[in-house]
Amino acid sequence: MAVEYNGGVVMAADSRTTTGAYIANRVADKLTPIHEKIYVCRSGSAADTQFIAENVKYWLDMHGVTLGELPLVKTASSLIQRLCYYNKNNFMAGMICAGWDPVDGGQVFSVPIGGVRVRQPFAVGGSGSTYIYGYCDANYHENMTLDECLEFVQNAVALAMARDGSSGGVIRTTVINEHGVERNMIPGNALPRFSEY
């Protein structure tokens, strides 16, 4: 998931990759940089999303060098949309592109399966997201502080991890604002815990 807050964006993801029911990687990194201050959350087929991210990273890099400035988040998300839409019959990729640029500040763009691109104040994706739509709608508000935003995403991802079998492991977070990028990780034994009967 990715959330806009007053100053930038906060992104968070779980770390589980499964092949069927077996957990192939329990410490995966689903928050991939495609430029200095633009990251993508990857969900769906790992192969497809890695391919798309690498491609867009290359094109964005060329574009940034040509421009001589930091590329815009809407440009990055548009490149992702282009690949996802025109290859929609072959890809299974749900991506959330989020970051910070000097023109529009923090932005979150969702590019789900099929290739629609839409800017949202916050976006959730992946198989676990269905369990937290209610929680997110109830607890999101505009202009959250960084700490409020971090607590929001950590609780949301922990709730999704508890209910969804395909989600789990650690919670990785990335904070992107004008000052830079900060990456963090919450291990399994420090996750927020809810009702356990």
Partner: protein
Amino acid sequence: MSILEYNGGCVLAMAGKGCVAIASDLRLGSQAQTIAFDKSKVFKLNDQCFIGLPGLLSDSQTFVDKLKFRTALYKLKEGREMQPSVLSHVTANMLYQKRFGPYFIEPVIAGLDENGDPFISAMDLIGAPVFAKDFVLAGTSSESLYGMSESLWREGLEPEDLFEVISQALLSAFDRDAVSGWGAVVHIITQDEIITRKLKARQD
């Protein structure tokens, strides 16, 4: 997706010195979605016999009711409790009766016989039994459980050590399985008492 993986879950049983242990996870799911965190797959039939029934929960619950009926009737007719080795053969027979429309369960049986010797056995869904001296297991994390059990089990484990070994084996194994986990319960059965403990596990 196999019907045996629909609800998810796993059971492990181990033999020690004068004791047996049987443990299961607590998750009930509907494929990827988790429905409950309190569904143990281990059932007590009498003081000597415990049976673990991982697989399709609907069949586990139906089959354990049939087993409770058979053990109660046995006690009335024979005037004594059913021994675990007898339970094993009864279960295998009941499963083979349904050879061409089976119950989707893979039973794991653990108990102490009348001499106090540990007894463990397991079988597939159509009743092919295996009688082991060390450990038996079944469920969606079976491959991981085999690896953990082969590494951690050793002969002559006392009850408290057996508890540690079975708990670590089960927890490490089902933490690699997306459809098992969310807590565990362990029963240690000795001549004098049955100790039941709940394990705190990752809730993911």
